[in-house]
């Protein structure tokens, strides 16, 4: 097997395996403690992303000089803020600060010469903040852990494909890693019939947002594709969570609720192929 494939498999597989083991233990131990379970799963997820970043980018850059360098730091900070939200931090205020901070990091330092910088910062802040309300509160309340994690996994996994096609193997690999890690958590949440809490979607939002934005601004990811992938999990706003004890009933409900998400993702991937036809040159 060639070196590129081995590297990619390691970059995706090793963090996912670690998350599988750690999350399985955490789900089992804190099955009856939703708050502790949410904190643990959120931190494990962020840890998995940071390890996947380390394998994909070959190390951390400090101080960060470009947008991609910020990803592991954003993952860590967002996970910690997410943990504190459950204890004493106001969720809306802290989410607004995180949204503004991420927008400033992304645009102020990277494209500060652009006359539209302030418009970009405002637009990204609003997009992130509204998304946190939708995903972390409205949708999380209406979803089982498996439904939420699987929808995020499908979006991130598809994001890996389209970002790779858009010209960034490294960012694509990170998005794919996030998709597999979320897939692992979705499987565990399904079998433990447990929620995943509000920290995991918060970390997902900021990291996937950074990846999609990097893909659009610095690679050749079409904006339409990115927007469709971004909003795909919002399809879960329709319907109610299914916590039925029987696995077969839950599985059926899970599949039905994924239809809207899958439809949006399919359109997103299709639009990527149409707007940015792939080429095998390297």
């Amino acid at each position: 097997m060639n070196q590129m494939v081995v590297q990619s498999l390691q970059g995706v597989g090793l963090p996912s395996l670690a998350v599988l083991i750690a999350s399985a233990v955490w789900f089992a131990v804190f099955r009856e403690h939703p708050r502790l379970r949410a904190i643990g799963i959120g931190l494990i997820f962020a840890g998995g992303i940071i390890w996947a970043y380390l394998l994909g980018f070959g190390g951390f850059a400090f101080p960060p000089r470009e947008s991609g360098h910020w990803i592991p730091y954003i993952a860590g900070v967002v996970a910690l803020v997410g943990c504190l939200q459950g204890i004493r931090l106001g969720r809306q205020v802290s989410n607004l600060i995180l949204s503004l901070g991420t927008a400033l990091i992304f645009f102020w330092s990277q494209i500060s010469g652009n006359p539209l910088t302030f418009a970009w910062i405002a637009a990204l802040t609003v997009a992130l903040f509204v998304s946190t309300i939708l995903l972390q509160q409205v949708i999380e309340d209406r979803c089982s852990g498996a439904e939420l994690a699987l929808s995020l996994a499908l979006s991130a996994g598809a994001g890996g494909i389209v970002i790779f096609l858009g010209g960034s193997a490294v960012l694509g690999q990170l998005s794919a890693s996030m998709g597999v890690i979320l897939g692992v958590i979705a499987v565990l949440a399904f079998f433990f019939n447990a929620t995943v809490g509000a920290i995991l979607p918060l970390v997902y939002l900021f990291i996937f947002g950074c990846l999609l934005l990097s893909g659009c601004l610095f690679a050749q990811l079409p904006w339409l594709t990115a927007i469709l992938l971004w909003i795909a999990p919002w399809a879960l706003v329709f319907g109610q969570r299914s916590d039925r004890p029987r696995i077969s009933r839950r599985a059926l409900s899970l599949l039905l609720r994924m239809l809207g998400v899958i439809a949006l993702i399919a359109i997103a991937v299709g639009s990527s192929f149409l707007l940015n036809p792939p080429s095998g040159e390297m």
């Binding site: 070959g58 470009e66 947008s67 991609g68 010209g167 960034s168 193997a169 490294v170 040159e281 390297m282």
Partner: protein, 190 residues
């Protein structure tokens, strides 16, 4: 006729009518210059690429080469490897990240004369926001009047660098870490 470093400098002086203490400044003529690179692909073959847009200046002090100065600026989004999709990828975030880092620069810090035709030029090379010292082996090619009477001086520089030193790590080792660079420049006396 082959000219050595001394004869190039002498002819530079003769043309300019300058005194021995004068430093002559040259501006790189992009139409008669090239910056090309070579990189190994899967250990099977070599890919060659070039930068289409660059600029720079150099100065020549005939009495003291250590006072010579070289500055080159390369537009990273002008990379051309004869495969447009690959060029797009190279300009992207995995390699040059040209949107965020539109230029690569070389600024000499010291120049040492090796022999009559050869200089060793050390300088700061900046790529993708990372600055590291880089040494160029420079050969004098020739000098003399051009078609419009302008005075020209030609040089060729080679070096090898590790792209990972400049945070360009993607696809190593499938696409080699080591990159060979060649700069062939003609300067027009200012």
């Amino acid at each position: 006729m082959k000219k050595n470093y001394l004869s190039i400098l002498l002819s530079t002086l003769a043309f300019a009518g300058a005194t021995a203490a004068q430093t002559d400044s040259f501006k790189i003529d992009p139409a008669h210059s090239a910056i090309i690179f070579e990189i190994s692909h899967f250990g099977v073959g070599h890919i060659y690429g070039r930068f289409d847009t660059f600029s720079g200046t150099f100065s020549v002090d005939p009495n003291d080469p250590s006072k010579d100065v070289v500055n080159v600026e390369i537009k990273t989004d002008s990379v051309d490897t004869n495969a447009s999709k690959r060029d797009t990828d190279i300009k992207g975030p995995d390699f040059f990240n040209a949107s965020q880092f539109p230029t690569a620069t070389f600024k000499s810090t010291s120049i040492k004369k090796i022999d009559d035709k050869t200089l060793e030029v050390t300088g700061d090379f900046t790529l993708r926001g990372v600055t590291k010292p880089l040494t160029l082996n420079v050969q004098a090619i020739g000098s003399g009047p051009g078609p419009k009477g302008e005075f020209r001086s030609g040089w060729e520089a080679t070096t090898t660098l590790k792209r990972s030193d400049f945070e360009v790590k993607a696809l190593v080792p499938a696409v080699s870490d080591e990159v060979s660079l060649r700069l062939a420049v003609e300067g027009i006396k200012q």
